[in-house]
Amino acid sequence: MEIIILILSGALISIAVYNLLQKQLLRIIIGTVLISHGAHLFILTMGKLKRGQPPVLKETVTSYTDPLPQALILTSIVISFGITSLLLVLSYRTANENKTDNMDQLRGKSNE
């Protein structure tokens, strides 16, 4: 299963990157959301999957899943959320100010 999840994560990153290479802002931002999903699944898999119970201590349980990747993912999710929200407002403002959501028209003059 780990290998399947790793392939899924890789596929998510591929699709995300494909979206990042588009011109329209919304697609690009969707790409950033997908890429962080991919990354989080990578982290999760690095701690092995389905070994033992959820990492909440119980008297009866002796084996738990690796809690560290989960903690790392939690931190990362929150940070990603922060960036995504900033990015959303930023792109909204950019699109409004520059009257376009096409990255090709947001190149700017060369070397000025």
Binding site: L20, L25, I28, T32, I35, S36, G38, A39, F42, I43, T45, M46, G47, L68, P69, L72, T75, S76, I79, G82, I83, L86, L87, L90, S91, R93, T94, E97, N98, L106, G108, N111, E112
Partner: protein, 493 residues
């Protein structure tokens, strides 16, 4: 005393929160910022002295012992960089009120400024790879906030590219950290180092190392990953450009130094050869970029890139001389880049434009600015007896001792072109006929001069007084060449 180590991170964090609440009263913010920067500088200077006198400080946060909790490691390398950061920050704090419009000051410039310093200091000091990622995000988030501050059309346009590219590399960063965790089961740098050394020569570790290197190289603006840098660095206010130019790329370089002297010290024939190649190409393309434009701010922004090439060259060569050269050059470049960004900001202000083609004969009205620029050009190019020279001598000696002639020749030619690219501003913009100014066109560079002069003096002293500094830098290089020191001081085995 080990609690000291966290002060350079916590103090700016508190400072940020305090000034965030005084945003309505700009004079209060200004005074607070100036005084808090000085306090911070004093504290860091003390810690720096303490580290050099008593050795590395290791703080185990929350008293969780080393590989398990997050450790803050103030060793000689990190503390020197934190000290340099705070010196620059103080200069910028005194420059900012003259350069920023009131609206930006009101909209939390000073808070973002301190957040940035906290993030940068944290990145230098942390001993935990995932925590490094978190501090990267802190400093990046602060930089996002600073780069869009003001919300001009061009700012928005460039910052969205800046944010997206950095976001992409951050994702790769966190993934690479995960891979490393998957391979060696830990995120503590000292323990990673110990474990990696234990299984040496594993291809997958080298692969992850290179992935990590590319992540840092994107932040450090190495060829061929620097495209995001030049234009996004010139859209915000000069004081922000100065902070970016001095700090952001250098965090990336620091990370490369740290990771490739502490953790991935084997397989150097492959990895470090790659570094030297990239260093050479970075110098060439960077300096060609600087020559390609007539925008004085862009000239300086492009000049960040070849400097990174020089530092990278020392890491690639990887002997004592070359490493101490890299560190010397790193410190030198942080200072002189800040000075140049601030200076060019002042020049663009008095000239009313940053287009070199529209400037002429400025020296007749602003002699002091002109001579400061003249001096800065030579400092930047590493002409003796200024600070860049010492770094360059060491880098050259190191590279030549390993027979790396090619990179030395590229480096020397790049130095010439660096000099030309900046001196061009002096020759074309400052020299020339005296232009009569209308009273409305007269602008005084007063207030800009102080911080710039301070930083330039420091650069000159760093060269003339190398005898006082070099032994410490050299001790850092020897320390870095023996990663066991770091591992022992953190893991206490």
């Amino acid at each position: 005393m080990s609690n000291l180590a966290i002060l350079p991170i916590i103090l700016p964090l508190f400072a940020a929160i305090i000034v965030a609440f005084t945003n309505k009263k700009v004079p209060v913010s200004r005074t607070l910022t100036k005084s808090l920067s000085i306090v911070n500088l004093g504290v860091t200077a003390f810690i720096c002295w303490y580290v050099f006198a008593n050795g590395t400080i290791v703080l185990e946060t929350g008293s969780w012992k080393a590989p398990y909790g997050i450790t803050i490691v103030a060793d000689s390398l990190s503390i020197v960089l934190v000290l340099t950061t705070n010196i620059l920050a103080t200069a910028c704090a005194f420059y900012a009120p003259h350069s920023l419009p009131l609206s930006k000051e009101k909209h939390y410039f000073y808070a973002f400024f301190f957040f940035l310093i906290a993030g940068v200091s944290g990145a230098f000091l942390t001993g935990d790879l995932f925590n490094l990622f978190v501090f990267y995000e802190v400093l990046l988030m602060a930089s996002y906030a600073l780069i869009v501050l003001g919300g001009e059309r061009i700012q928005l346009r460039e910052s969205i590219k800046y944010v997206l590219i950095n976001l992409f590399s951050s994702i790769l960063f966190v993934t690479a950290v995960a891979f490393l965790y998957g391979a060696v089961g830990t995120v503590n740098m000292a323990q990673i180092a110990e474990r990696v050394h234990g299984v040496e020569q594993q291809g997958i570790l080298t692969t992850i190392a290179i992935l990590l290197f590319f992540v840092f190289a994107t932040k450090a603006a190495l060829f061929p990953l620097y495209y995001w840098l030049p234009k996004s660095y010139i859209v915000p206010n000069p004081v922000i450009s100065a902070l970016f130019g001095a700090l952001l790329t250098k965090v990336g370089v620091y990370s490369i130094i740290r990771v490739f002297t502490l953790i991935f010290t084997y397989n150097t024939d492959i990895t470090h050869q790659l570094f030297i190649w990239m260093a050479g190409l970075t110098m060439i393309f960077g300096i060609l970029g600087a020559l390609s434009t007539n925008n004085i701010k862009l000239i300086i922004a492009y000049n960040i890139i070849p400097a990174i090439g020089f530092i990278m060259m020392g890491i690639g060569v990887f002997n004592e001389d070359a490493l101490s050269g890299s560190i010397y050059y790193l410190v030198h470049d942080m200072i002189i880049k800040t000075a140049l960004f601030l200076l060019v900001g002042a020049i663009a202000y008095v000239a009313g434009t940053s287009d070199l083609r529209k400037m002429n004969g400025l020296i007749n009205h602003y002699p002091l600015l002109g001579w400061l620029l003249f001096l800065a050009a030579f400092v930047l190019a590493g002409i003796p007896p200024f600070s860049g020279f010492i770094g360059k001598v060491l880098l050259l000696k190191g590279a030549l001792a390993e027979g790396e002639i090619g990179i030395v020749i590229i480096g020397l030619l790049t130095s010439l072109l660096i000099l030309y690219s900046v001196l061009k501003i002096f020759i074309r913009g400052f020299w020339g006929e005296k232009q009569e100014l209308k009273p409305t066109e007269k602008r005084s560079p007063k207030g800009f001069i102080g911080p710039v002069a301070f930083l330039l003096t420091l650069s000159v002293l760093l060269g003339l007084g190398a005898e006082f500094i070099y032994p410490s830098i050299d001790s850092i290089a020897t320390y870095l060449l023996n990663p066991e020191n770091y591992i022992h001081s953190v893991l206490k085995e």
